[in-house]
């Protein structure tokens, strides 16, 4: 198990290397000169040259890459052109906001999608199954920027119940420990801040989680239905097990293997797919940061963010593989 983990972690190194090469090349070939972003339009050629050499942009491409690689290994992605701050600091500031959003969305999606899927599978072609399937289909199909704007109009506008964006109300000043506002509020014992954080989370979590809820529901339903056809389910029935035991103890436990795969994949897309939702809700996460980085041609920021995304994807996959060994005794890693 340890050997397997180490091997998998080691296996991520070439992946990250390839991604770094790819993203570096993309940024190099992208139209436009980053210097334009750093200086005003009236800057003289001397100033431009000085800036160019100060940022190392006058070096040959491979030198730039090697410098970048050397620094990246040390956790230094350089200075953001726009924010004039180390990229790593920028990312670390905003990563908890994105993770918090993704985790609550996943909890919501699993909490609703999983039981609904099992319920629908236990009564195939019944009324609840039909309603559930249609609902799940809607969840999958609704574009989340549209749903986001709709919910903002409704809950922040018409009913004025929830904030329309942002992560917290200005001036609450909860001490940052983990970066997760809900957890930090609890640590600080600030129930007003917790309530505030949850109110801000509500709409983006619903919007981001809707799609995943639909997918998890459909996958759970299909997987449980498939497992209900298996021989061992017939054995369980022949042993006199009740329908509930057959469903949950026998079919569901086996169905979970497929569902976990989807949860892992979806969690990954939630982190990256949050770009739109973070923009709609002005959520100060890394998705929002990436969007700004792209519009300002902030190459160090883009490169750093893409590498962070890649690393997270790889780690999620690793975690999923570890969870498999718990759920499915047939899988032995080693």
């Amino acid at each position: 198990m340890l050997g397997y983990t180490l091997r998998r972690v080691a296996g991520t190194i070439p992946v990250l290397f390839m991604v770094s090469l790819l993203i570096f090349a993309l940024v190099q070939f992208a139209p436009g000169d980053p210097v334009d972003m750093l200086v005003s339009d009236e800057a003289t050629e001397e100033v431009r040259l000085a800036i160019r050499s100060a940022w190392g942009l006058d070096q040959p491409v491979y030198v730039q890459y090697l410098t970048f690689l050397k620094n990246a290994v040390m956790g230094d992605f350089g200075q953001s052109f726009r924010y004039r701050e180390p990229v790593m600091d920028l990312i670390l500031q905003r990563l908890p906001a994105s993770l918090e959003l993704a985790i609550y969305s996943t909890l919501l999606a699993v909490g609703i999608g999983l039981p609904l899927g099992v319920w629908a599978a236990s009564r195939p072609n019944s009324f609840i199954d039909t309603i559930g399937s249609i609902g799940g289909f809607f969840g999958i199909s609704l574009p989340n920027f549209w749903l986001g704007i709709l919910l903002i109009l409704l809950f922040a506008g018409t009913f004025n119940l929830l904030p329309s964006g942002g992560r917290e109300t200005w001036g609450l000043n909860v001490e940052r420990v983990t970066g997760f506002l809900t957890i930090d509020s609890i640590i600080a014992g600030r129930w007003d801040a917790l309530w505030d954080a949850l109110r801000h989370l509500a709409l983006p979590v619903v919007v981001l989680g809707t799609n995943m809820t639909g997918i998890i529901m459909q996958i759970t339903r299909a997987s449980v239905l498939e497992n209900l056809q298996e021989d061992y389910v017939m054995t369980a029935r022949a042993k006199g097990m009740s329908g509930r035991v057959v469903l949950w103890r026998h079919a569901f436990r086996n169905a979970l293997i497929a569902v976990i795969t989807i949860i892992g994949l979806e969690f990954g897309t939630l982190i990256s797919g949050a770009i739109i939702v973070e923009t709609v809700f002005a959520w100060p996460g890394i998705g929002y940061l990436l969007l700004q980085g792209i519009s300002f041609r902030d190459f160090p920021l883009i490169t750093g963010l893409v590498l962070v995304y890649t690393t997270m994807f790889v780690l999620i996959n690793l975690a999923i593989d570890m969870i498999y060994t718990v759920v499915d005794p047939r899988i032995r890693l080693g």
Binding site: E230, D231, Y232, R237, A238, K239, H250
Partner: protein
């Protein structure tokens, strides 16, 4: 006259979505006495399995419904319950307690994510309201009763850690936990190797004697019936065509279908006399033996191993010695059978010859040409000369291609002729294997298993091969169909001068088709020789055990035996392992065995 335990009358079952008239079971009657072993015999589609699952009311979960009938289960003198009228909750109390069931596929019938102990205990907890600890004790004693070695350890193991035979023992243990009055066994040994089948049948008989429960055995195998049944019920297309005492059925079958079943039943002639072994120094050919026919395919010291990798750097920690130093010659128009149990390497040998598995060493000579080291284009040419027929006629035909396309495909790949020539050739091939031209435009799912195997044979014949490797070609077919396919193979062998390497686990089929037999065990050929010599005077102890395990042909030949479960020997060896076995020794004319 024993007291009736279960009386089924006028049972009719129909699958949902089929017309009302088309019943899967058409109103059958059946009685099982206390402590009796009743066998329902029939081929696929006879309704035997549906009948069994109707008693358990499991058909309702398979998209079928019981149309009418009664199944009266005795609750003691004069008191009976109609199982078919019980509600689901009361039926759950019967299942696993008074009536238990075991299934055909031990590999898939246990839940892969629960331990053996968990799966056993839940039955006891459900029906006996026992505590976890008590349930554990009952589970352990059941495992002991099915003679599983190391029962304490098994409780904590998962199904995938056990062999097929062990799993079927676990299934039986699970069924007898609550001491049922009736055990329904649906093809309990069909998926098992013949030696394991003998073990399981002996075990079922022993437990039946010990507990006095009745057994309803569902099978297609007359040999299994002869081994174990007291009464026989023969079913055909949802109806009982004959029933009676097992001796009466075997001695004087009344219905024509019963006679056909008995005739078609694979049986090994009674040639087996394991007399003292004489090592012949200068063997002489028996009279009338043809001398030196041409050798078509020659396999020399073939070795195929699969690496088992483990650890941080995926080092090779062991090798599966699937094929070890296998040598044989296949002569013109000869059928050589490779027999052995699952995992013995017989299929891998076939695949290694075809280069579908990569051999680690040895040579394969086809008509004197060495297949080792030939280039890709030459290999394509050589492949024309050897063709394969596979076991599963359902999986080995592309469902999206018409029969004509399937049979024509090898001709097209090798660019043999214009499209009209190819078409003519396809039609003549279909004619030859007993299919009509009108069927050429149909798709595989429109054919029965036997017809599909005919299509596979036509496809193999298309390139005029010298050798056909037939890997369990009839194992997936009903016995009455098996005979037809074997006859067809014999005809085309004669007509097209083909040599057949016949891979099979079924000794009776092997006896019928072979000129010579090679017995494989743990990757090696441990005995090879003319059919009558190998079957009549087997020299190797394993061959003897294999033959002794073949089911008897007649209930009069019953012998009592209890065979404990054996741990399967595995051909997994550490790297650098040198396998020491006795060399093949001459024990008769062209008859060799690895004996010390």
């Amino acid at each position: 006259m024993t007291e009736n335990l279960l009386r089924i009358s006028d049972l009719a079952v129909k699958f949902r979505g089929v017309p009302d008239g088309a019943l899967a079971v058409k109103g059958i009657d059946l009685a099982i006495g206390r402590g009796e072993v009743v066998a329902i015999v029939g081929e696929s589609g006879s309704g035997k399995s549906v009948t069994a699952k109707s008693i358990m009311r499991l058909v309702e979960f398979m998209g079928a419904e019981i149309v009418r009938g009664r199944a009266m289960l005795s609750e003691g003198p004069g008191v009976e319950t109609d199982l078919l009228a019980l509600g689901e909750a009361r039926m759950q109390a019967v299942r696993g307690d008074r009536v238990a069931m075991i299934f055909q596929e031990p590999m898939t019938s246990l839940n892969p994510v629960l331990t053996i102990g968990q799966q056993l205990c839940e039955v006891v907890v459900k029906h006996r309201k026992a505590s976890k600890a008590e349930a554990g004790k009952i589970a352990l004693s059941a495992l002991e009763q099915v003679r599983i070695p190391e029962p304490v350890r098994r409780l904590k193991q998962y199904p995938h850690e056990l062999s097929g035979g062990m799993r079927q023992r676990v299934m039986i243990a699970m069924a007898i936990l609550c001491k049922p009055d009736l055990l329904i066994a649906d093809e309990p040994t069909t998926a098992l190797d013949v030696t394991v089948q003998a073990e399981i049948l002996a075990l079922l008989k022993a437990i039946q004697r010990e507990t006095g429960m009745a057994i309803l055995l569902i099978t297609h195998d007359m040999g299994v019936v002869a081994e174990i049944a007291d009464k026989v019920v023969v079913m055909l297309r949802g109806e009982v065509v004959e029933s009676g005492d097992v001796h009466a059925i075997f001695n004087a079958p009344q219905h024509e279908y019963t006679r056909r079943l008995l005739d078609a039943a694979p049986k090994l002639s009674n040639r087996l006399e394991c007399g003292p072994l004489s090592v012949v120094e200068t063997p002489t050919p028996p009279p009338g033996h043809a001398v030196n026919p041409e050798i078509v395919l020659s396999v020399r010291n073939l070795v195929t191993r699969f690496a088992v990798r483990q650890g941080m750097f995926q080092r090779v920690v062991a090798n599966v010695h699937a094929v070890e130093d296998v040598s044989f010659d296949l002569r013109e128009k000869e059928t050589l059978s490779l027999v052995g149990e699952s995992g013995c390497g017989k299929s891998t040998t076939g695949k290694s010859i075809m280069r579908l598995a990569r051999p680690n060493g040895g040579e394969v000579l086809l008509q004197g040409r060495n297949l080792e080291g030939v280039g890709a284009s030459e290999m394509t040419q050589m492949r024309k000369r050897i063709q394969m027929v596979f076991q599963d006629p359902y999986a080995s035909l592309n469902p999206r291609m018409s029969i004509e396309q399937i049979v024509a495909e090898p001709l097209r790949i090798h660019r043999l002729g214009t499209s009209s020539e190819i078409r003519d050739r396809v039609f003549s091939l279909l004619d030859r294997v007993g299919l009509t031209r009108a069927q050429a435009s149909l798709y595989p799912h429109q054919f029965s298993g036997g017809q599909r195997q005919r299509i596979c044979i036509a496809r193999a014949l298309a390139l005029n091969p010298k050798v056909i490797i037939a890997d369990e070609p009839v194992s997936a077919l009903d016995v009455s169909i098996q005979g037809q396919i074997l006859d067809l193979l014999a005809e085309i062998q004669e007509e097209f001068a083909i040599s057949i390497l016949f891979i099979s686990h079924d000794m009776a089929v092997v006896e019928r088709v072979s000129d010579r037999i090679a017995v494989m065990y743990l990757g090696e050929i441990i005995e090879i020789g003319p059919r009558d010599a190998v079957l009549g005077s087997p020299a190797h102890p394993y061959t003897q055990r294999l033959l002794a395990a073949v089911p008897i042909v007649h209930p009069d030949q019953r012998r009592s035996r209890v065979i404990g479960a054996r741990e399967l020997k595995s051909p997994i060896r550490p790297p650098g392992y040198r396998h020491e076995t006795p060399p093949l020794k001459v024990v008769g004319f062209e008859h060799y065995a690895r004996i010390a």
